[in-house]
Symmetry: C6
Subunit: 77 residues, 6 copies
């Protein structure tokens, strides 16, 4: 996975696990694109990490991002 | 990305990062198509940028728009 | 786009922008199919156009409708 | 569209508009499969037809069902 | 449909209607996988079967499961 | 299914049922990636396992993850 910086340079990953990690990263970056203040993001973090409805909604975002990544990698077949 | 104006002229982008940027832009334009008053949109902005449930819902919209853009670009392969 | 009337006759559009417009139109028509009274729809309009959670949910509907339209148009490639 | 009865016999429709109609019908049948009492469904109807959040959520269901139907019909091309 | 037992052995169904039935079944099994106590599930049933927002959310799950099943059956064409 | 450890090494499963099991596992791992404290996750568990809205939302995540897995396995055909 060659997306160490802030720019997304590729959807290709070596393994499905790296694909999952990239999906989580993309979900986080979407939120950072809307709430650009890192201090506010930090203060908000506790509110969703202990709210199961929001944890489930976050998992839904990861699922959609992962579907795209899995397609890009031809499902690592 | 040749979508500098208000019209969406193409889903093709040079890089995955530009695809992410376009996905965020499309999500924003959808909201502007429904709430057409820019002053009201501005006043609403704070309410969702500090509400984690809405930030997560916004990230979901970006994920679906990005899936379409990624397909259009054959995943930048 | 040859969908000027009330009937959806085609998913094919000339440009991506017309595809976006059609996606918004389809989302609106779904709501009109459920709430058939135009007066009630009009009275409801303010309640969602100033509620960011509902604006984001509307943008999600547009994103899914647009994905279908983009596929139909082979992403306007 | 040859789905006049209660059984879904085909996803193929003559026109995109018939595809939209089938999508709405499938969404309604899903709800009837869970809440099987038609009297209760009738009494519930008003509560969602005047609640914009629920109207938007219903439109989301229609959008996903329509995507499947559009794929089945090769987008009526 | 040869999924009479508790194990999902195939996504292939004879008709679209059997595909719908399987989609509802899969949605129910997902919930049973998380809330494993059948008595609690039974007691919860009334709360969502009379709550339109939850009925609509359930219909959304069925729509996504059905999309997968329809793809698996090449849309019964 | 060769994903016994914490790493996701493959999306390929022997049967559709194993695909369902993997979908549930991926959904759970997404939540664990966001709420990393296992004690807090345990304490949160009761709150969503008895809340039908959250059970339905969880089923939606499973449906999307399963769609990806089903595609990867060519629908076990």
């Amino acid at each position: 996975m060659t997306n160490a910086g802030n720019e997304l340079t590729s959807l290709i990953t070596s393994t499905p696990q790296e694909g999952r990690d990239l999906a989580v990263k993309l979900a986080r970056k979407s939120i950072a694109a809307i709430q650009t203040d890192p201090e506010i993001r930090k203060s908000l973090r506790k509110s969703y990490a202990e709210d199961t409805a929001q944890l489930i909604a976050s998992a839904q975002v990861v699922a959609v991002e992962f579907q795209t990544i899995a397609m890009a990698n031809n499902y690592w077949k």
